[in-house]
């Protein structure tokens, strides 16, 4: 066991893994493409968690909005990176984010209308009770 451990430490030191790990960490804790995209991934994952784990339709819709926001962040980050590297079409990322805002507004309007209608007819917003299409 000790031999295995020292072998692993040797391999890590000779390939510079620890150094690279520290570099990755510093990069993640400053403002650049990597950190912005990582934040976007984290927010998207939290939104997906909300959609999968919650049973309240309203909170599920909120989580969907959160996921859309994370995607907007990714679009804007990559557009900015494109412009930083000398590209000329970096604005397209922002324009797509604008489209996402519009579509999110439409989605919220229709989704909430469905929730209100369902609640009026059945008196619940819990997905465990929304089973009229089952079987």
């Amino acid at each position: 066991m000790e031999q295995l451990y020292s072998l692993a430490v040797d391999a890590a030191q000779s390939s510079g893994t620890g150094e690279r790990f520290v570099q990755t960490l510093t990069r993640l804790l400053s403002f650049n493409v990597t950190s912005c995209l990582t934040l976007s991934v984290i927010l998207f994952a939290i939104g997906a968690w909300g959609v999968l784990a919650r049973r309240n339709v309203l909170v599920m819709l909120l989580s969907v909005e959160m996921m859309l926001n994370a995607v907007m962040l990714a679009f804007i980050t990559l557009g900015r990176a494109h412009a930083t590297l000398g590209g000329t079409t970096g604005e397209n990322g922002q324009i797509f984010a604008l489209f996402i805002i519009a579509i999110a507004a439409a989605e919220a309007a229709v989704g909430l209308a469905i929730v209100v209608t369902y609640f009026r007819n059945r008196g619940t917003v819990d997905t465990r009770d929304i089973t009229s299409l089952r079987n």
Binding site: Q23, L62, E91, I95, A97, A105
Partner: protein, 173 residues
Amino acid sequence: MAWADVVFLLCAAVMVLSACAIVTRKNPVYSVICMLPFMLGMSLLFALLQAPFLAAMQLMVYGGAILVVFLFVIMLINLRPEELKDDFDIFGYFVPVLGVAILAGLVAACGMLDTNKGSRLDKGFASEVDGKFGSIADLSGPLFKTWVVPFELVSVLIVVAILGAVVLAKKKA
């Protein structure tokens, strides 16, 4: 540490914490209220990424319109506290652990397989693009030339969505 790093880290912390709060609060009113710091942080981040128009849109459309509509619906539905059942199962608490593990694995893998050391993007992207980037004048060119058809389709989509919402929510006579 540059000031942009500090602002970014603050925004990221606020957004991740409020996102977790949105998912874990039992009462949907608290979830919607936690959405507000999330939107503020996102808007600040857009401003930091040189997208001032998007930052304003984010505040107006999300913070101003969508959140208010959510609050209205929650008040219309008016769930009493005793109707709020426990909303999480074991699965719901297990998933974030798995997610954090996967993220840590990805970060470690990226650190080990890193090949583009010293890229310009690594040093952050503050003040490397001319000030015109992301302004309304800069956005409107491609929006009304390259993307004019999607733009018009979005307006059709919004009209359809409004009509659909009205038809759905109208009380049957």
